[in-house]
Symmetry: C2
DNA sequence: CAGTATCCTGAACGATACTG
DNA sequence: CAGTATCGTTCAGGATACTG
């Protein structure tokens, strides 16, 4: 039943956007940094305490994420201190939320002891639990079996 | 504006479901294998050709994914041949689709040349493009700023 | 506090040869 | 065809010391 959800002609998947995105954020700590950013963490020291990774790795990942436009460095200065920086999510980072929420809910459902994890995400509007889903342009839910995968011709027909 | 999307008390994130899920499927080739599975790839040799990874790595990942319940091995036998196996996605794998679609659309939007990737996913019902989103229990879209993150007490209050 | 520099280890990966 | 076995390498990451 499931094998026919998507059936592609052999489009060139080496240029696949999944692979591209993973090459940017697929390293071990990167998504966890983003997770903490959405938890409100902004400062180097706090990332370090919560992630328990090495400062060198943290520094490198923050730099990559900043250069990629997922975080922006915002200067601040406590009175009498030198300028320091906070790391805040950009709109591009927010657009990764479905991925983060999707990873979380999958782990909740399949890896947590009783099917629920240590964190819930609710809508402020009505208190309902939220979840990642696939929707069409009208916002209507699309079932996996109704999804059709289409390779996009590129650089062949026009000029 | 964005920093307050979620604001958590310091719940213990080492047991975070995002981290758990990533520890299972966060290795370099795993998600790309799943991608190909949803493209209809089922056989070892075809994975190998499309992924261009080493057979040892492929074998190990297929095993992990099968043991984790994301793929199932289905025997088949061509007449006169010995039994061989196909790898097909389980329901648990289908539940990862929002993650895959989310990764793809983020790459399309932020890494592809002209904002579109080599593959489109459309709804068979109405031909519309689909995308990963965050919805509430009624299926209504939830904006990131309306999301509220709540730590779940565990093992403290009852008994 | 907010990082950078250095050294080291291990694991993931690539290449390749081999097997039923 | 569908894998397993072996070997070598590279690179991410851990530990730790250091700097403005």
């Amino acid at each position: 039943m499931l094998e026919s959800i998507m059936k592609a002609t052999a489009s060139d998947l080496r240029y696949c956007s999944i692979a591209s995105t993973l090459s940017l954020i697929g390293e071990k700590w990167t998504i966890l940094i983003l997770r903490d950013v959405f938890h409100g963490v902004t400062r180097f020291d706090e990332f370090l305490r919560r992630l328990e990774c090495s400062p060198a790795v943290l520094s490198a990942r923050l730099k990559t994420l900043t250069e990629a436009g997922l975080l922006r460095r915002v200067g601040y200065r406590e009175p009498g201190e030198r300028e320091r920086f906070e790391y805040r999510p950009t709109r591009a980072a927010v657009e990764l939320l479905p991925v983060l929420v999707g990873l979380m809910q999958w782990g909740d459902a399949h890896l947590a002891q009783n099917g629920e994890g240590p964190v819930q995400i609710r809508s402020r509007a009505n208190g309902q639990l939220v979840h990642a889903a696939i929707v069409d342009e009208d916002g209507e839910l699309v079932s996996p079996r109704d999804m059709e995968l289409l390779p996009v011709a590129r650089g062949t027909s026009n000029t």
